[in-house]
Symmetry: C2
Subunit: 336 residues, 2 copies
């Protein structure tokens, strides 16, 4: 789990501090493709360290070029292997790749379970591949915000393709899917309850459906099941219908087809000017989420520390006032 | 499901409106024991109708006398039958009773499933019993706030005992338990997975554990299982240890013992001055929750309607700014 520095949001003196020149220098090096600078800046934004807002402000105008691919699905679906094969594919085309791999946080160590990551180490000698692991818990500003901020650093580093890989677990799966231009949902045959794994809500977030380990028994049954389920979803004429791609990532089977489906989706988005529209909608959700989190954090800090709440609780116990009145007074005080 | 009037929080002119005198009149009648006035005021506070804040303000000084008993547990545990028997018991002692029965909201009709309530109709001719059913969904200000507000009306009506009955489903179960002075957790033998039904987190909220339908096979096994599980919880010397009471509510068996356990818990709270301490802590949680809900509602309304967000999103798409900066500006604007 990352250690979090004391949050220093909105430190007014940051512009005159030595730290300012450090961030400016680091961002300058980032834009020249310096991977060490990228690493340090990712740590700054992931952990909300001093300078994180300046970092995001400085990189903003250098983002938006990369195509962002989200990869989600059940544990054991072979996502890491699939991502490895996609990296090889894109490197073969001469494209640079950045990966944000969100690992389930261990309840015991508090750290990310990095086992699967080991398989990616084959890329350490290739400067065209940058892999960043993040723990799924412990992000001060929320996992979605931390993930998208780290992806922005990769974007400013000049990566052509950014892959966000996450173990999909219910709500997280859906919210992380909201960070990518193209979202892959990876399923495998024989994982037990198809209905559970393929709730309509999860299918809805997918732009491409991947049946990995497709050499296993039940691959066709799963494909038919997915097709049947998707027919239950509304699908207006002309709107993107998620293709189903079968892969055996461990044997590098089906990767070209998968990359082709991703490219088709990107083309679909571009031709209809949906890429910008989708990104704007994601920004809207992100800004609302971030603002809500900030307001709540400040509210709680304010109420707990001011001592005002204690006084009001004493009045409440004496029935001098009531909770609805107190809540409105407190809310009014924050906003007036 | 209750229909919700447009929320009218903080209407400054309420003091001069005809509605003001209506609320004043209704509260006056409530304090004289008028059940019709109680019904109307419950509708006002449950649905956040105009005048709800005035209602809560006016009744505040007339609350705090009733002992509030929470009854929670799995569907099918026989809670309604148990509550019926408790009502009979307290009526036999000459005490007046109010019940807030939270019914699971039907996904189909949108209304509360009132089947179980029918069994309570035997009390309609007794003015000493007041039963209010509430749907579990659709409360504008949240279920917990609506429930506690309705209970306050019963308190001001002069009820000696207020019973809040709810189907416990995960989080709801735990949050509703935070509304009562004494919380009963009702379990039955043979409901399948004991571990699932008796997660430590649920046991922790219970002040009295009821094994209903205790004539069924497995009652002793369940009791032993609960005892074993409770030993895993921290239990400092002198702190209340939830007793396990066996009942067969349908045959009125064990009700005196149950009422005795409830009375012992109340005595325990009173002797140690914990009743006031617990109520103050519940008020603290309630005020924080209410304030948070208000601030969030206003924030979203403000951001969505002002058009400011749209302008900022355009700037974001042009990379003139970044989401962290925008969120801080919006949050600062709300609080400055």
């Amino acid at each position: 789990m990352p250690t979090h520095a004391e949050e220093t949001e909105g430190t007014a003196d940051v512009k005159l501090s030595p730290r300012h020149s450090t961030i400016e220098t680091l961002v300058g090096r980032l834009l020249e493709g310096d991977r060490g600078a990228a690493s340090r800046l990712m740590t700054v934004v992931e952990n909300r360290q001093a300078g994180y807002r300046e970092t995001l402000r400085r990189v903003a105008k250098h983002t938006g070029r990369a195509h962002i691919i989200g990869v989600t699905g059940s544990p054991g679906a072979g996502k890491s292997t699939l991502v490895n094969e996609l990296i090889k594919h894109y490197r073969g085309l001469g494209k640079t790749v950045g990966v944000v791999a969100i690992d389930p946080t261990s309840a015991f160590s508090g750290g990310a379970l990095l086992g699967d990551r080991v398989r990616m180490l084959g890329f350490t000698s290739d400067p065209g591949v940058f892999i960043r692991s993040m723990a799924s818990r412990g992000q001060l500003g929320g996992l979605a915000a931390a993930t998208v901020d780290v992806a922005r650093i990769l974007d400013a580093l000049g990566r052509d393709i950014i892959i966000i890989e996450t173990v999909g677990v219910g709500q997280d799966e859906i919210s992380i899917a909201g960070l990518a231009d193209t979202t892959l949902l990876v399923e495998v045959p024989g994982m037990g309850d198809d209905v559970q794994a393929l709730k309509a809500g999860v299918l809805e977030v997918a732009d491409v459906l991947v049946i990995n380990k497709a050499d296993r028994e039940g691959a066709n049954r799963l494909a038919n099941y997915i097709k049947t389920t998707m027919r239950l979803l509304p699908h207006p004429e002309g709107v993107w219908l998620p293709p189903i791609v079968k892969t055996v990532a461990s044997d590098a089977v089906g990767i070209d087809e998968l990359a082709g489906a991703i490219e088709q989706h990107r083309t679909y988005l571009m031709e209809r000017e949906l890429l910008e529209k989708d990104r704007k909608e994601r920004l809207r959700v992100e800004v609302l989420d971030r603002t809500r989190d900030l307001v709540l954090k400040r509210l709680m800090r304010n109420l707990e520390s001011s001592g005002k709440l204690d006084q009001l609780l004493d009045d409440l116990m004496l029935h001098k006032t009531d909770p609805a009145t107190v809540s409105h007074e407190l809310a009014d005080g924050i906003e007036s």
